[in-house]
């Protein structure tokens, strides 16, 4: 913990710092994953330095065995540790989902509370890096569909550090999603806790709520600035931060007040978490909505490799702007 002045750090550095603080503060905390130990410290350098400081038996390299990584994290949690596993890319969840969905998520319930699973899975998403369809996909909807899993997506260094601490302290399994293009995003690191299940209004507004999370928060903020300056439209930007548990109160309060909502996420629109949000909003706010809830996300395609196509597939500021205009065009 630091004194003023507030340092400006990257999301990467904030995550590294949180992991180091957790390792230093609790002997039960252990890290495991592919190539997470030094000298590499993970393919994106997020764990760099930690094995040197805290030992290669606590920051432990594994074989390329995702089922074993997540399964061993489940077992380590059952055995009294607080494991933080790294799955190098979120797409690789497909080869270890049994351990996450059938074990980590269900063991507390199936044991009537005897065997909670306090573990974290950190995983990276490479959308926007030009690394193709198997290293790029946001799959949070797979996870939020499974009761028992917690899912968080930070957008800033402060949230990354705070949410990671909350996830490690939680007695339940949490997937912590790191969008790679966001890792180098820098902002002041405020020394404050960020609990699970608490959204944040990043910019207050009166005309329409953009419900978003992760790196898309910054796109939404940029669009909000433009619209306010050029057209006098005041967007409220709501950063969910935590998808499960979900801060339904803040969500409904915001959209109930503005009467209009656009959901923005990096994931494919079809069956995405935005569908859940849109359904929630229509169920709770049917009479108050002045326009249909619109969703902006990736096209229903595997993420293409060519830059020209990747740009078209991922949601950008243009698509958000179009959705906002469509929404605002409804007379309400």
């Amino acid at each position: 913990m630091t004194d003023a002045p507030t340092p400006t750090v990257s999301v990467r550095a904030a995550i590294t710092r949180a992991l180091g603080e957790a390792l230093a503060g609790d002997e039960r905390v252990v890290l495991l994953g592919e190539d997470i130990a030094d000298p590499g410290g993970g393919v994106f350098g997020v764990t760099r330095g930690l094995s040197t400081t805290y030992g290669a038996d606590r920051v432990r390299d594994t074989p390329i065995s995702e089922q074993a990584i997540v399964g061993a994290a489940v077992g380590a949690a059952l055995g009294g540790l607080r494991p933080v596993a790294e799955i190098m890319f979120m797409d690789f969840l497909a080869v270890c989902l049994d351990q996450l969905a059938n074990h980590a998520a269900k063991l507390r319930y199936m044991s009537g509370g005897l065997t909670p699973v306090p573990m974290v899975v950190r995983t990276a998403v490479g959308g926007g890096l030009g690394v193709g369809a198997q290293h790029s996909q946001m799959l949070e909807a797979w996870l939020t569909h499974v009761p028992g899993l917690q899912v968080v997506v930070p957008s800033t260094p402060t949230d990354a550090r705070g949410l990671l601490h909350s996830a490690i302290a939680s007695d339940d399994p949490t997937v912590f999603i790191e969008q790679v293009p966001l890792l180098s995003f820098k902002a002041p690191l405020e020394d404050r806790p960020v609990p699970l299940g608490l959204a944040e209004v990043k910019r207050p507004g009166t005309d329409l709520t953009v419900v978003t999370y992760g790196r898309q928060v910054h796109d939404a903020l940029a669009v909000a600035t433009t619209l306010a300056e050029e057209e006098g439209i005041e967007l409220e930007i709501l950063d969910l931060r935590s998808l499960a548990p979900l801060d339904t109160d803040t969500l409904l309060e915001s959209v109930g007040r503005t009467g209009r909502a656009v959901v923005l996420h990096e994931a494919v629109v079809t069956g995405g978490f935005g569908a859940e949000l849109a359904a929630l909003l229509s169920e709770h706010l049917f009479g108050q909505l002045r326009a249909p809830v619109l969703r902006v996300g990736a096209t229903p395609t595997p993420l293409p490799y060519a830059k020209s196509l990747e740009r078209l597939a991922l949601p950008g500021r243009d698509r958000l702007l179009q959705a906002v205009r469509r929404c605002m065009a409804h007379p309400g």
Binding site: Q67, A72, G75, L78, N102, L107, R108, Y109, M110, Q150
Partner: protein
């Protein structure tokens, strides 16, 4: 006077093994009768025929050691000491069950005796067991983890990932394959080319041993060797206990895929009677004592089942609890 069975072995160990096996067989019999009689309804995966394996491995473990087993796990759970009534209550979906009736027969846990997971997904217990063994390795108190699984599980990726990780990390893990001859309805020869599951150990440069899984002392000795090695920091061992699944995959299985002669031979050599004869002929137990053990076991299970049948099902207030501890609920 015949020469005593197992002259080098403490007779209380032998009698305890017999008592454990008799209790498993009694519980299996009572449950199958209750299902046949319509008293209870559940998908039941009988472990009958594998009771010697469970009795043997459990006798090799200490308090503090961990166990992971499978949906065909009643024998393992009883042998390890999961209390009978909560166990039966869970199988029957009662609030007093090990998991308040919310997990069911395939998901018995009882952390007090180190049973942290019973899984219904073939092979998936192995990575979890590796993690438990890692925790034990870090605790440094010499505890071990034993994971029980079938021959069919050795064809799934989770087995190989876990075996390899355990080998590379030298984890205190005993991989106990209860080779009962069949993966669901497919005989071993139809699902793997190797003659012995234990041969798979070579791929991970760990010891692999095959033992008669219908002989409780053979299992006890083999698992003791593996446990001693694990406690001493020597890493994992794959133990293959060759046994037989006398009632097929799931209750009601007509076993049309099994050669009747093979099944008859298996019944002829079934483990409980075989061990009883050995103990009686060897002077460890009299016929009367052996019978008394079986009758006591049956009476205990009969009473337990009758009692548990009167227990209530979980109330609606249980539906939404235990999903997560959020917000603020702590285990």
């Amino acid at each position: 006077m015949p020469e005593r069975t197992d002259p080098g072995r403490d007779t209380t160990v032998l009698v305890d093994l017999y008592r454990t096996m008799a209790r498993i067989v009694a519980c299996d019999q009572v449950l199958r009768d209750a299902i046949s009689g319509g008293q209870v309804a559940l998908a039941y995966y009988s472990p009958r025929g594998q009771e010697a394996t469970a009795a043997g491995f459990a006798a090799a473990l200490r308090p503090g050691d961990s166990l992971v087993t499978t949906y065909r796990g009643l024998h393992d759970q009883l042998a390890r000491g999961v209390p009978l009534k909560p166990l039966l209550a869970e199988m029957l979906g009662r609030a007093g069950g090990t998991g308040k009736g919310k997990g069911g027969a395939m998901h018995i846990v009882w952390p007090d005796v180190g049973l942290h997971l019973t899984t219904g997904i073939v092979g998936s217990g192995l990575p979890v067991a590796a993690g438990l063994a890692w925790a034990a390795q870090r605790h440094g108190a010499g505890q071990v983890t034993l994971v029980s699984f079938g021959d069919g599980a050795t064809n799934i990726g989770a087995f190989h990932e876990a075996a390899n990780l355990a080998a590379v990390w030298e984890l205190p893990l005993i991989l106990l394959c209860q080779n009962n001859g069949y993966g669901e309805h497919t005989p071993v020869a139809g699902h793997q080319r190797i003659a012995s599951v234990a041969d798979r150990a070579a791929a991970y440069a760990i010891p692999g041993v095959t033992v008669d899984g219908n002989d409780p002392t053979a299992v006890l000795d083999a698992v003791t060797g593996a446990v001693d090695r694990a406690r001493a920091g020597g890493g994992p061992t794959l133990v293959e206990a060759v046994t037989y699944r006398l009632y097929g995959h799931v209750f009601g299985d007509q076993m049309g895929y099994v050669d009747p002669a093979e099944l008859a031979a298996a019944w002829q050599a079934e483990p409980l009677e075989r061990f009883r004869l050995r103990l009686v002929e060897g002077g460890v137990l009299t016929d009367e004592e052996a019978l008394a053990i079986v009758e006591a076991a049956t009476a205990e299970v009969d009473e337990a089942l009758a009692d548990v049948l009167t227990w209530p099902e979980p109330g609606p207030e249980e539906l939404l609890t235990d999903v997560t501890g959020f917000p603020g609920e702590s285990p």
